[in-house]
C-alpha cells in the first residue's frame, strides 16, 4: 500500500509536492448528509402521526442501533472484541433504578448519571481485563459481566435475584411529560412512549455523532494505525494502552446510558434481563457482523435486516436463534466484511467516510489514490 491510511495524519498540506490533496468527503457522503437532515426532522415529528406500536418498534431499533455502533467502535475499530457489553447495559439499567427509585431523581437526569456511573465502573474493569489479549479478552469481559450480574442479584433494595418494577409515578417522572401530553393531546402512557422514543432517537443520533467524530479525530487515526500494526503505531507515538482505554471507557459510559433508557422503557428489571448475553451482546454482534464490521454504515444496514428477521421470524423461538447463529457463521466464512463491505467494495462508495484519501490535483487521478484503502 503506497498510501497508507495511517501516515496521512497531517493537515491538508501537500505531501507530494503540491500534486496531491488529502480529502475525506466524497460526493456520496455530501448527498447523504443533505438527505439525512429532512429524514431526522421527519423522525422527530413522527409521534404526531404514527401510532404507539410503531414508536415502540422504532424505540427498539434505535436502542439496538446505538448498542451496535458502540460495539462496532470497540471491536471493529479498536480491536477490543468484547462479549461482555451486557455488563454496562446492566450496570446502567440498575443505576437508573437506583437513581430514580432510591434517590428519587428525574428519569432523564438519571440516564445521564447512569452512563457516568457505567463509565466509572469501566475504569477498574478495563485495568483488569486489559491484562488479557485478543480472544482471551473476549471471555474475560464475559466473566466480568457475570460478576456484575451476580453482585447486583445480591442487592435486595433493587429486587435481588427476582428483580423489581418501577413504581408507575416514578416511571412517568420524566421532565416535559406534561408538555408532550398537552402537545399531542394523549394520555399518560402514550406520552411516555413518545418521550422514550425521542430519548432513544436523541441517544442514537448522539451515539452516531460521537463514534463518527471520534473516528475522524486523532484518536480515530491512532485506531486505524493500531489496526494496521500495533508495533508500528507505537513506534510512531501512538499510546496503545491509553487509546484503547479511552475507547473502552467512553463506550461503556454510552452503553450504560442506552441500558438505562431501555430499562426506563421496560419499567421492570431483573438480573437475567439486564445482563442478558443474547439480548445485549449476541444480537448486537449479529447486527454489526451482518451489516459490516468496521464501518459507520454497517450497523445501520445490520439493524434494518435484524429488525425484519425479528419481525417475521422471532415467533420461531429457538429456531430463530439457530438461524441467526448459522447466518453469522456463513457470513464470517464468505463475507467477513458484511453486506456494506461487499457494497462499498463493488461500488467504491462511502456514505460516512472516516478515512483520508489522496486526491491528485492535476486532473489525472492515480489509481491508488482513488481506490478506497483496505479496511483496517
Amino acid at each position: 500500500m503506497p498510501f497508507g491510511t495511517a501516515n496521512l495524519g497531517g493537515k491538508k498540506s501537500d505531501a507530494a509536492g503540491g500534486r496531491f490533496a488529502v480529502a475525506r468527503e466524497t460526493r456520496a457522503s455530501t448527498i447523504t448528509l443533505i438527505a439525512a437532515l429532512p429524514a431526522i426532522i421527519v423522525l422527530f415529528a413522527l409521534p404526531a402521526f404514527a401510532d404507539r406500536s410503531l414508536l415502540q418498534q422504532l424505540f427498539y431499533v434505535f436502542t439496538m442501533l446505538s448498542l451496535a455502533q458502540l460495539w462496532n467502535l470497540l471491536a471493529g475499530s479498536a480491536g477490543l472484541i468484547s462479549v461482555g457489553q451486557q455488563a454496562f447495559v446492566g450496570v446502567g439499567a440498575y443505576a437508573l433504578f437506583a437513581f430514580a427509585v432510591v434517590a428519587g431523581l428525574d428519569a432523564v437526569l438519571s440516564i445521564v448519571l447512569s452512563g457516568a456511573l457505567a463509565g466509572l465502573v469501566a475504569i477498574p474493569i478495563a485495568l483488569i481485563v486489559f491484562r488479557l489479549r485478543g480472544a482471551y479478552f473476549a471471555i474475560g469481559t464475559w466473566v466480568v459481566a457475570e460478576v456484575c450480574r451476580l453482585v447486583l442479584a445480591q442487592v435486595k433494595q433493587l429486587g435481588g435475584g427476582t428483580g423489581t418494577s418501577l413504581p408507575p409515578d416514578i416511571a412517568s417522572a420524566i421532565a416535559g411529560l406534561d408538555f408532550v401530553r398537552n402537545l399531542f393531546a394523549v394520555r399518560g402512557p402514550a406520552a411516555r412512549d413518545i418521550m422514550v422514543y425521542w430519548l432513544a432517537l436523541v441517544l442514537a443520533l448522539a451515539t452516531f455523532v460521537l463514534v463518527y467524530r471520534l473516528l475522524r479525530s486523532r484518536h480515530g487515526l491512532a485506531l486505524s494505525a493500531l489496526g494496521d500494526s500495533e508495533i508500528a503505531a507505537e513506534s510512531t507515538g501512538v499510546d496503545v494502552f491509553r487509546t484503547k482505554f479511552l475507547i473502552y471507557v467512553v463506550t461503556a459510559a454510552a452503553t450504560g446510558m442506552v441500558g438505562a433508557l431501555i430499562f426506563l422503557q421496560k419499567a421492570r428489571i431483573s438480573p437475567d434481563a439486564a445482563f442478558s448475553l443474547i439480548d445485549w451482546t449476541a444480537y448486537v454482534i449479529f447486527i454489526v457482523v451482518i451489516g459490516g464490521i468496521g464501518s459507520m454504515e454497517g450497523p445501520i444496514i445490520g439493524v434494518a435486516i435484524f429488525y425484519l428477521l425479528q419481525y417475521y421470524l422471532a415467533a420461531l423461538g429457538s429456531w430463530y436463534l439457530i438461524l441467526l447463529g448459522g447466518l453469522a457463521i456463513v457470513l464470517m466464512l464468505f463475507a467477513p466484511s458484511g453486506i456494506w463491505g461487499v457494497i462499498s467494495q463493488a461500488f467504491d462508495i462511502s456514505l460516512f467516510p472516516v478515512r483520508r484519501r489522496l486526491i491528485a490535483k492535476s486532473g489525472t487521478t492515480p489509481e491508488q489514490a482513488d481506490k478506497p484503502q483496505n479496511r483496517r
Binding site: 485478543g134 466473566v143 454482534i285 464490521i293 457463521i329 464470517m332
Partner: protein, 288 residues
C-alpha cells in the same frame, strides 16, 4: 473445623471436574491460540448424546465409549470444514464462528431435548462413598472424576512429549510458519487438536452428567469455569490447568460454605484476583 475440612476436600474434587472441562480448552489454546466459545455447550452436547444412547438401552459405559470417538470426529470435522477456513491474523472470524456455534448447539439441544433437567444414572455408584474417618466421607464418583482428569493429562503429556506426532503438535504451537516449512500440515494438526479437545469434552460430559443435573442452558457457565482454570493455571501447561481447576473449585466450595448464593461469584472473583496479581497465571509456560 470439620465442616471446613470437608469443604476443602469437596472443593478439590469439584476442581477435578473443572480441570476436566478445562483440559480440552487448554489444548486448543496452547496449539491453535483459538478460543472456542462453544466449548461449554459442546460438553453439554456430549452429556445429551450419552443420555440419548442410554435411554435407547445402551449401557452407560458403552455409551461413553461410543460418544468419545463420536465427539472426536465432530471436532475433527468442525475444525477442517469450518474453523480452518477462518484462520488468519484476524481473530474475529474464528471467535464469532464459535459464538454462532454455541447459540446453534444450545438452541438445537433445547429443541431436541426440551429445557427439562436431566441426569445420567450410575446406579449404586451415585451415592457410594469412602469414609476417611473423623466423619468425613469422600464420594466415589467425584474421586473417579479427579483421577480421570489426572489420567487425561498424563495421557496427553505422553502424546505431546513422547511421540513424533506430539513433536509436530508442539512445533505447530511454537511457530506455525516454520513448522509448515518442515513439512507439517498445520491444518490437519489443528483438526486433530480440536478432535482431542472434544473427546476430552465427552469424558467431562460423563462426569458432569453423573455429578449433577444438566439442561441445555448450562454450557456457557462451564465455558467460563474452564476458561478461568486455563488462565489461572497459565497458558501452555496442562498441570497448570489442573491446578487452575482446583483453585476455581476450592474458591467455589469456600464461597458456598459461607453463603450458598456466593458459590459461583467466588470462583469468578478468585479468577479476577489471580489476573490482577499474576496476569500470566500460576504456572505460565507459553508466551501469549
Amino acid at each position: 473445623m470439620l465442616g471446613w475440612a470437608d469443604t476443602l476436600l469437596q472443593g478439590i474434587l469439584l476442581g477435578g471436574l473443572y480441570s476436566l472441562y478445562a483440559t480440552g480448552l487448554s489444548v486448543i489454546f496452547g496449539i491453535m491460540r483459538l478460543v472456542n466459545l462453544a466449548h461449554g455447550d459442546l460438553i453439554v452436547l456430549g452429556a445429551f448424546l450419552i443420555l440419548a444412547a442410554t435411554s435407547a438401552g445402551v449401557p452407560l459405559v458403552v455409551a461413553c465409549a461410543v460418544v468419545v470417538p463420536l465427539m472426536f470426529a465432530l471436532g475433527y470435522g468442525l475444525q477442517s470444514l469450518l474453523l480452518n477456513r477462518a484462520l488468519g491474523r484476524n481473530i474475529l472470524p474464528p471467535l464469532l464462528i464459535t459464538f454462532g456455534l454455541s447459540i446453534i448447539v444450545q438452541n438445537g439441544l433445547l429443541e431436541t431435548f426440551s429445557a427439562d433437567t436431566r441426569r445420567l444414572d450410575v446406579g449404586s455408584l451415585q451415592s457410594a462413598s469412602l469414609p476417611l474417618g473423623g466423619g468425613i466421607a469422600i464420594g466415589v464418583m467425584p474421586l473417579i472424576g479427579l483421577a480421570a482428569a489426572i489420567a487425561v493429562i498424563l495421557l496427553l503429556n505422553a502424546l505431546f512429549y513422547r511421540t513424533a506426532l506430539g513433536r509436530a503438535f508442539r512445533a505447530t504451537s511454537d511457530d506455525v510458519e516454520i513448522a509448515q516449512l518442515m513439512g507439517i500440515n498445520n491444518r490437519s494438526i489443528y483438526a486433530l487438536t480440536m478432535g482431542i479437545s472434544l473427546a476430552v469434552c465427552a469424558l467431562a460430559a460423563f462426569f458432569l452428567g453423573t455429578r449433577a443435573n444438566f439442561d441445555p442452558s448450562i454450557g456457557p457457565a462451564r465455558l467460563l469455569y474452564a476458561f478461568e482454570a486455563v488462565i489461572i493455571g497459565g497458558l501452555g501447561s496442562l498441570w497448570g490447568t489442573l491446578a487452575g481447576g482446583i483453585v476455581v473449585g476450592l474458591a467455589q466450595a469456600i464461597g458456598a460454605h459461607i453463603d450458598p448464593e456466593w458459590q459461583i461469584l467466588s470462583g469468578h472473583i478468585a479468577f479476577l484476583i489471580v489476573l490482577v496479581i499474576r496476569p500470566r497465571g500460576l504456572f505460565p509456560r507459553a508466551v501469549d
